[in-house]
């Protein structure tokens, strides 16, 4: 499986993702600059975290118009796995590939901390190797991760089983205030996933958790 890691001006988790593919999973991976227009040779596309265009205007709003995004949208339509993490999730939302909005955290603070996620569905390439209800620990690092959507959209996400991950309940759960504790959602075809937490920063025991690796392994069909 050949991965692309798209790089925007201001991306800063691109190297973390590249490291996971290249050195931990040992699969082919290339950086793709946002001015490029062709992603055909790749099997899966990762939109990394960071602060594309300095988060000016709204997070992801300007990156959404980078030349590469035409091709991301095209590949998404063709069914290729597209995985947006943090700012990548924000960009996928702005591009219309995923519904809803990510607004400023309920406590209006940048949150950098570990969270516990619950796997909400195993019906996707991203979660096929996981178990429903399985708990995953990984960090969040964002100020605009508070997921909101109108009632109809929330109902559609539930009815179509498109919530991939939720923040856990209880104390320290759902720190950004997301509706329905949503941490990650998919498109209708289930080949586009966006999530605020950072699995690529939780892929080695030396970093405190290997739970993030399970999502990348799942994409590759590994247990």
């Amino acid at each position: 499986m050949h991965f692309a890691v798209v790089v925007f001006p201001g991306s800063n988790c691109d190297h973390d993702a590249y490291h996971v593919f290249q050195h931990i999973l040992e699969v082919p991976v290339d950086f793709v600059w946002h001015k490029e227009t062709d992603l055909k040779k790749f099997d899966a596309i990762l939109i990394p975290g960071g602060f594309s265009y300095g988060d000016y205007l709204r997070t992801g709003a300007i990156a959404r118009f980078s030349p590469i995004m035409e091709s991301v949208i095209q590949e998404a339509k063709s069914g290729k796995p597209i995985f947006g993490i943090c700012n990548g999730f924000q960009i996928l939302i702005e591009s219309g590939l995923l519904p809803g909005s990510l607004i400023i955290n309920q406590e209006v603070r940048f949150l950098s901390q570990d969270v516990i996620l619950e796997v909400a569905t195993t019906d996707s390439i991203f979660t096929q190797s996981l178990k429903k209800g399985q708990k995953l620990t990984m960090p969040i690092a964002h100020k605009q991760g508070n997921y909101i959507a109108d009632k109809d959209t929330l109902k559609m996400l539930e009815d179509e089983d498109r919530v991939a991950f939720r923040y856990n309940k209880g104390k320290n759960g759902n720190p950004n205030g997301s509706m329905e504790r949503i941490a990650g959602i998919m498109n209708k075809k289930r080949n586009v996933l966006g999530m605020m937490p950072h699995p690529e920063r939780a892929a080695e025991s030396v970093l405190g958790s290997e739970d993030g690796l399970t999502i990348f392994k799942s994409m590759m069909g590994l247990a």
Binding site: L57, R58, A61, I62, F65, E94, G100, S101, I103, I104, N105, Q106, E107, V108, N146, I148, A149, D150, G177
Partner: protein
């Protein structure tokens, strides 16, 4: 000619920043405020085009980039300098 664009959260959308500002005002003794909503203000300048054309360009800019149709509404006015 100048477009003055005001972008604000839609009714019913939670505005955590507005809420925080309200608390801050209360804490410095400024009372009687029901609610605070925070938005954005953007100016754009035009040269040598009609008011209609400027209005169309401003509207398109708002629709395609400046405002998020899911959560925000916009309004604008065009003023001669």
């Amino acid at each position: 000619m100048k477009a003055k664009i005001y972008i604000s959260y839609k009714e019913g959308i939670l505005d955590p920043q507005g809420k925080t500002i309200l608390h801050a005002l209360d804490s410095i003794g400024i009372k009687k405020i029901n609610s605070v909503r925070m938005g954005k203000y953007i100016e754009m300048e035009f040269n040598g085009i009609s008011k209609d054309k400027a209005s169309n360009i401003t509207d398109e800019s708002c629709r395609k980039l400046l405002a998020n149709p899911n959560t925000e509404t916009y309004k604008f006015e065009l003023v001669e300098e």
